[in-house]
């Protein structure tokens, strides 16, 4: 049992090219707790493929993506 209340983290990686958005996400994940959700917002087209791949490779869960303002994408993972 844990008392931890899952938190929502937001990472702004807009304008940053591969692999920087994934490194930003990994740094945020290193500071976060199991159960937390991290949303990384990015404009780099590779990140839309690499965030789900990162989740698969690191044993975390990819929750989905949505388009945000100005053609950016917000991709969300849950830490396991």
């Amino acid at each position: 049992m844990t008392d931890h209340v899952p938190a929502q983290h937001h990472v702004d990686s807009r304008g940053r090219a591969c692999p920087l958005p994934i490194i930003d996400l990994a740094k945020a994940a290193a500071q976060a707790s199991s159960g937390d959700e991290i949303t990384v917002e990015c404009t780099d087209p590779a990140a839309r493929l690499d965030v789900p791949a990162w989740a698969r490779m690191t044993g975390n869960e990819f929750l989905g993506e949505r388009e945000t303002d100005g053609g950016a994408f917000a991709l969300t993972v849950r830490l396991t």
Binding site: C18, P19, I22, A29, P52, A53, R56, M57, G59
Partner: protein, 382 residues
Amino acid sequence: MSAPRVFLDSGGSAPVSPRTLQALQAGLAEGWADPARLHAESRRARALVDGAREAIADALGANAGHVHFTTSAVLGLERVIAGVWSARRGREDVVVSAIERDAVVHAAAHVAGRPPLELPVDRLGHVDLDALTAALDSPAVALAAIQHANHELGTVQNLDAVHAVTRGRDVPLVVDATSSIGHVEAPAAWDALVANPADWGAPAGIGVVALRPGTRWLPSWPEGDDWAPGGTSVPLALAAAVALQERLERGEEESARLSALIAKARAHMAQIPGVDVVGDPDQRLPHVLTFSCLYVDGEALLTRLDRQGFAVGSGSACTTSSLEPSRVLGAIGALTHGNVRLALHPGITEANIDAFLAAVTTEIARLRGEAGAPALERVGND
């Protein structure tokens, strides 16, 4: 003193062997005349092209009368897709796998006037046969274009199963074999096939199209030779045939040697944390390997390896002219950044691979450190 070069990027352009170079020179000395004319010099040139065509047809298990030289493999793909599509009047759609080459996808979109129907592939890159069967339920399908093997993943398709589906619906199957001929046995299951001599160690500037005698096609252009507008280069045709002969003579033993080197490299890379080794580990080309490294800048990795004497390819967005990540990697859900692609030629030794693996392992760690990437203790291939 600079390090000796180790060329590990032989997909589509491999070093030309001394024997192939001799064939090219012989072609220039003996086959300089236009093979389409009536005099003795022309007949000699024509005999060389015909001999080259027969040798390649033999290797492909094709009828020489239906094997055509083109001016490049890309032109071959374009013309064969256009020609077979045109002969299927009234049917407009082209079905492709999600990991076909850009040339196939672009040709299909151009002739049909709309994007092709893409069949999904699994994590290893095998085309979804149920999706193929469902796609062919439509009477509007003109042709299916599915590769023999993938130039990035190395995965070899089960073309017998694919062809059983397409033949059952009377839909012609165009097979892109530009990554496989010269490396593995030619497939038997196709209605039209395209091969790339430069991929098996011939000089660039020539392609090969083979059709089954029953495969219908129409010319794209009203006049002249549809396959090699302006004529076939005799020296290149001769060099293509000799280079293929040389690869075939090396045979199973060489293929097994390269395959063992790739297996060793796969195993080495897979045990590095955060490295995604892609493609089918068994049903694959003997000489191709692709992997992607978390938190690594692909362009920086290529540049540093190049400086140390290792030439490798990549499908990472930052290394492509379009700045888009490889569609192939995206289609199988692989990591696209930090991507390295190897295609070995017969001159590559185990010592070369050992040296490369040591260098790439060091550079991955360095680049991750420089980027301030977090530790990767929990990460591995699934």
